[in-house]
């Protein structure tokens, strides 16, 4: 009788790409829960729309490429891309925003470059930047945390807002963003940026109701929740600490320095770390292995670069947050980082 020929090793650790990706989105649960708690059900609608779009566009791309759609679905990478984009955009952005963004992420950023593993840019962030540049109004209309808003938004309102732009009672997004004081409320980073540009001191800027918590109402807890999920990812060995560690360090060190030397321009360490997309970016977005550096040392530099660029954009750039831009810029630097951070192989003069 004849026997099956196989190549060594004949044993495998059963952790597939699908399992890795599943852990990534399972660890997003605390963050999503916090978003839901503070901003209502919108994020779930965005996730649903993003998933549907991702699954269909991925299948269409695979069909056009003459391959099996099931093969691409099996790795669950599109699900992660869709979910990351969905939690990144304002919770009540109109439905076509997430559809356009997800389609762009999957079709152009992922499949045009050759599908999973071949893309140069982080698909979720490239999609986000496309949306931010094309639709600045919709993309900056973050709802007010529910504790500060005049109106409560129930699930039916959420569906109506995402679908038509109005709640069931006919309020639009602009009206909903009005705080209890009657002024339109911005996100913490936006509010901070505007106030600092109007020559207010950071202390005055922090006196706004949005900063009733240390780093912004709601936003602080959202960031803490993503941090918890991220720590779980490290504990589960899905990601290594190098990228998030580097990113947070690259953001924290310059923000401490600027607080010391130019306090008038300083956003402040706690706001930097616990507001905007910091923790989501550090643990879930920048850690996308495909578009990150490959060696651990390279990953540390990659993270540091993103953190520093985020700080620069937030402090001097035209946008309140800069994680997405920073990630894309760092993606461009990956080949160079990889070239200069190749580990010393055994027997090439390294130390034991």
């Amino acid at each position: 009788m004849s026997f099956t020929i196989a190549t060594s090793p004949h044993t495998h650790q059963r952790r597939t790409t699908q399992q890795v990706m599943r852990w990534v989105y399972l660890c997003m649960v605390p963050g999503v829960a916090a978003l839901t708690y503070f901003f209502g059900w919108g994020v779930w609608l965005q996730m649903l729309l993003a998933l549907i779009t991702a699954i269909f566009t991925e299948a269409a791309c695979m069909w056009l490429r003459g391959r099996s759609a099931r093969f691409a679905w099996r790795d669950h990478t599109a699900i992660v891309t869709a979910l990351l984009l969905a939690v990144s955009i304002p919770a009540y952005a109109p439905w076509w925003i997430i559809v356009i963004g997800t389609s762009f992420s999957i079709v152009v950023v992922k499949h045009v470059y050759g599908g999973v593993g071949q893309n140069l840019f982080n698909p979720a962030m490239a999609g986000y930047v496309l949306l931010l540049i094309s639709f600045p109004v919709q993309m900056t209309s973050w709802p007010v945390p529910q504790s500060l808003g005049q109106y409560t938004i129930n699930f039916a309102d959420s569906v109506s807002l995402v679908g038509s732009g109005y709640t069931q009672s006919g309020y639009n997004m602009e009206q909903l963003r009005t705080g209890i004081d009657g002024a339109t409320m911005a996100t913490p980073l936006d509010s901070m940026k505007t106030d600092l540009s109007r020559s207010l001191t950071p202390t005055e800027a922090l006196a706004k109701p949005i900063f009733n918590d240390i780093a912004g109402v709601g936003w602080m807890w959202v960031n803490i929740a993503f941090l918890l999920g991220g720590l779980a990812l490290i504990y589960l060995k899905i990601i290594s600490w190098h990228i998030p560690g580097g990113l947070l360090l690259g953001l924290a060190v310059p923000s401490i320095l600027i607080s010391l030397f130019a306090p008038g321009q300083a956003i402040g360490l706690s706001v930097h770390l616990l507001s905007g997309a910091t923790m989501l970016g550090a643990f879930f977005i920048a850690t996308d292995p495909v578009t990150a550096a490959t060696s651990n040392r390279g990953r540390l530099y990659f993270g540091l670069l993103i953190g520093f660029l985020t700080f620069v954009i937030r402090t001097w750039g035209g946008y309140p947050d800069g994680v997405a831009f920073a990630v894309l810029l760092a993606n461009m630097c990956v080949p160079v980082i990889d070239k200069y951070t190749q580990p010393i192989a055994y027997g090439h003069g390294g130390r034991s």
Binding site: T7, H10, H12, Q13, A345, Y346
Partner: protein
């Protein structure tokens, strides 16, 4: 780079980067004592069972042989002979299946056993204490001893290198899952192994030995520890269980903190390593004159009814081994020679057990699932985290697929030890090691082609040069001959002979005169014509 000798002597255990902890499954086989495998009816002995040149065949078909009688003879160089595993008749010499991943045949001597198992008289060294180093090495060579750990490098050749040594390392780590051959050998033959180690120390003129065992073999550690009291030159080192700590380079790093230079040998950093099985074989060859006829083979896997460790004669067909141990085969059954990490599958069971066969593994699909479909690399870097050689396996994979040989070289492809840790953890189930082996073969082929082209170019240039030289010589010869002729003429004229030049001159003068006469005649004719018209 060299670690402090005192730290080494103090028993410090360093660490090596990466590594994995696959299920060990050694309990399947390591609980049974060593057993003799019953004799087979026929044996196929490949003439090449070590890395190096085979010997010349010195038996013919129809000849009767005794167990231990050499079947091949080695001349100069470092080939190794093979021996008849039992007494019987040589029934065939020709191509047959051998234990090689390629499945390609090689020359095999088939012996039909007579069942008597009569041994040729052993030829022990009379007085080991006074025997010369050369005699001991020759004894090991004639005994056909090759490294039993896996590479099959001729032991005498390894020992022949004379360089100052700090340590002899005896490798009893056996980190590959399932295999327990060295484990059982250490438990039951600790004294013989240490006797062999003692001989190896003498031959290499090395001051001391380290004996390394993984901490998952407490019985072997205890047995060796007990036997070590008689040998002050040796120390036991227990290393933590991690694959591939038994790899030569990794074990050196663990015990000494040193790294074997790329493309170098352990001896370059004052170390030499032998497997416990080799140490055992050395003792038997020198003290008892026994050639290498058998080795311990772990027969294991859920599809073997009687797993365990067996003394198997070299040349025993795997089929016989598996029949004795009562195997069952499922659909798409794999039979692996070696362990699950680095072993290779056999195309059929006619393949014989050879010097490097440490395990025959017949797994069920439940215990070792067959490989899944290869998915695209997502650059997750899990492979780089476990690579003990500190390479970037996924970069190597991209470069291997792109056939970028310069890039592969720059990423140190040839420092890959093919341990399989990267492929073990790969979430996309990419057969990474397979890509590297293929790329290595391609690079070697290119180098070979290049060398060939270089030889051809040299030959072409040499030929052109020769033609040029011959032409120049020919011209020179002609010139010289012409000169000599002229000189001879001149001398002849001087001596009063007719100058041939005079005749030439006369002939020229005659021709000129004739031409002039013709011209005159023509002119005369034309004048008369003019007058007549």
């Amino acid at each position: 780079m060299t670690a402090d000798p005192k730290t080494i002597a103090a028993g410090h255990i360093w660490t090596f980067p990466g590594g994995i902890h696959p299920p060990e499954r050694k309990e399947l086989s390591n609980t049974y004592p060593l057993r003799e495998l019953p004799l087979a009816t026929h044996y196929s002995v490949p003439i090449k069972q070590h890395s190096g040149e085979p010997g010349d065949i010195i038996v013919r078909v129809g000849q009767t042989v005794l167990a231990g009688q050499p079947l091949t003879q080695v001349g100069v160089g470092f080939g190794l002979p093979v021996h008849a595993p039992t007494s019987g008749t040589v029934t065939a010499i020709g191509p047959g299946r051998i234990a090689h991943p390629s499945g390609l045949p090689d020359i095999v001597i088939t012996i039909t056993a007579d069942g008597k198992d009569t041994f040729a008289p052993p030829l022990p060294i009379q007085d080991v204490a006074t025997a010369s180093r050369a005699d001991l090495l020759e004894q090991l060579r004639q005994a056909g001893i090759a490294g039993l750990g896996g590479a099959g490098f001729p032991t005498a050749q390894k020992l022949a290198l004379q360089r100052p040594l700090d340590y002899l390392i005896i490798n009893g780590v056996e980190c590959e899952p399932y295999i327990s051959a060295d484990d059982r050998l250490m438990r039951e033959h600790a004294t013989t192994i240490l006797r062999g180690t003692d001989l190896l120390l003498d031959i290499t003129q090395c001051p001391q030995a380290l004996i390394a065992i993984e901490d998952n073999k407490p019985e072997a550690i205890a047995a060796m520890q007990a036997a070590l009291t008689d040998y002050p030159r040796m120390q036991l080192r227990v290393v933590p269980t991690k694959y591939p700590s038994g790899g030569e380079k990794q074990l050196i790093q663990l015990l000494t903190g040193r790294q074997v230079p790329s493309r170098g040998l352990p001896i370059d950093i004052g170390l030499v390593m032998h497997n416990v099985g080799t140490a055992y074989a050395v003792a038997r060859a020198i003290d008892h004159g026994e050639p290498l006829l058998q080795r311990v083979v772990t027969v294991t896997g859920e599809h073997v009814a009687k797993p365990g460790n067996y003394w198997v004669r070299l040349g025993t067909p795997v089929e016989h081994v598996l029949q004795v141990t009562r195997y069952t085969a499922e659909i798409n059954q794999r039979v692996i020679m070696g362990g699950p990490m680095m072993g290779f599958t056999l195309p059929d069971l006619t393949v014989p057990v050879v010097k490097i066969t440490n395990c025959i593994l017949v797994p069920s699909t439940a215990e070792l699932a067959p490989p899944q479909q290869e998915m695209p690399c997502i650059r997750c870097g899990a492979c780089a985290d476990v690579c003990p050689a500190q390479l970037l396996p996924q970069q190597l994979q991209w470069l291997a697929k792109a056939k970028d040989y310069d890039g592969l070289n720059q990423q140190n492809l040839f420092d890959c030890i093919e341990c399989g840790a990267c492929a073990y953890v790969c979430p996309s189930e990419i057969p990474l090691v397979h890509y590297y082996r293929k790329a290595k073969a391609e690079v070697r082929n290119i180098a070979r082609e290049k060398a060939k082209a270089e030889v051809a170019r040299e030959r072409f240039e040499a030929r052109n040069e020769r033609l040029e030289r011959e032409k120049a010589e020919r011209l020179e010869r002609h010139r010289k001959a012409a000169e000599a002729r002229k000189q001879a003429q001149a001398e002849a004229v001087k001596a009063g002979a007719d100058n041939p030049q005079d005749a030439v001159q006369a002939a020229i003068a005659r021709a000129k005169a004739r031409k002039a006469a013709q011209l005159k005649e023509q002119q005369a004719n034309s004048e008369t014509d003019g007058e007549s018209s």
